[in-house]
Amino acid sequence: MQNNQSLFEYVLRLGDSCLILSQRLGEWCGHGPILEEDIALTNFALDLLGHARFWLSYAAELEGAGRDEDQLAFLRDSGEFRNLLLVEQENGDFAETIARQFYFDVWHLAMLDMLRNSTDGRARAIAEKAAKEVRYHLQRSTDWVIRLGDGTAESKRRMQSAIDSLWMYTGEMFEMDAIDYEMLSHGVGVDLSIVRERWMEHVSKVLDQATLTLPASTWMQRGGKQGVHTERLGYLLSEMQTMQRNYPGLQW
């Protein structure tokens, strides 16, 4: 029987990445470059919010400290969040949003696909449900990377620049720490080296098709999963949590 605290951490990481990316995508609402994309980005946000709720409700039950999904979302500070650094990065231009989404979607789908075989029944059910939606996300972000990369000189320049600048946040997605190893040993979690292989395979192929260059290996940022974040997360949280912080217990 695995340690509930470790499982709580593992589930919290998944939930936090979905929640923070959902919040970032929500910032596009009313600002999309075209109406259809505005709708698409906010639909992504909605799907991810749904996934975040599944994971965070589960995390709250595992913790057994009387907190619920809302308290986990709205009453934790930056250092208590366990999301990947990639998802807290700012929206930037449309190419940066797409690059962030593309890197995340490939990782996300590979993770969920493997979690479908988890020994944890709840994780399996959430993964099965979410994978269907994330597959659709990946199709769209893949199409956009190709369209912008193999597009005009300007769209290509921007897409390449976005692919390059976010590259340093992709390393930690595949780094195993004690919790990852523990969850893997119980058959609950996944082997991130396999996720990495599948991720690289898809990313290389798509970048090639998009006539873009795979970034050279570089210094990789790390820390998101352990609660060490970039400054950007604080600003995001202050906006996301403002109502519950100012009016604790507020209900719609």
């Binding site: 259809e36 709720r53 399996r124 449900k129 979410a130």
Partner: protein, 171 residues
């Protein structure tokens, strides 16, 4: 009693697509009555994970059950097996079409990730030529946006009659 509840649930419409009931959509997974206590248990599954209609649907179920005298109700959400448009009846698909929304179309092979397959298999989801226009029946259609007015729909245009229309996504 359980049979009655299944019947009564047909009165609960989808808030976004009122021509379909929640039974048509296949989101009611289980109805169970405790013979001892008289407690009714209804298990529903979400269509899309973040679908905001689920809250309204839950309230509607409670109101409908109350109307039929079922006061002791436990409403549960189950995720597995994951909802699929395959659970939609043929009759429901026909009503959807008459309402102006193209029903979901299942392709023979869908590009996507299956266990053990490389991610590289995932690319396009263009169903042009498969989704028929609900107005004129033409299959000369094209996707305008993969996302539409609700999470479950995509936006299409008919190249024959030039009408734009919503298509229920195959899920």
């Amino acid at each position: 009693m359980e049979k009655d509840i299944w019947e009564w649930l047909k009165e609960v419409p989808d808030p976004e697509i009122p021509v379909l009931s929640i039974i048509d959509l296949g989101i009611v997974r289980e109805v169970h009555c405790e013979s001892q206590t008289g407690t009714a248990k209804i298990a529903i599954t979400p269509t899309y994970s973040g679908c905001p209609a689920m809250v309204v649907i839950g309230e509607e179920i409670r109101a409908t059950m109350k109307r039929h005298g079922v006061d002791d109700l436990v409403l549960e959400t189950v995720l597995f097996p994951a909802w699929t448009t395959d659970w939609m009846s043929e009759d429901a698909k026909e009503r959807l079409r008459a309402y102006g929304v193209a029903p979901p179309v299942r392709l023979v092979k869908i590009a996507g990730l299956e266990a053990g397959q490389p991610l590289a298999g995932v690319n396009s989801d263009d169903r042009s030529g498969f989704v028929a226009c609900p107005q004129c029946g033409s299959i000369r259609t094209e996707v305008i946006s993969r996302y539409g007015s609700t999470p479950c729909k995509a936006l299409y245009k008919c190249k024959s009659c030039l009408e734009p229309f919503d298509a229920f996504k195959c899920h």
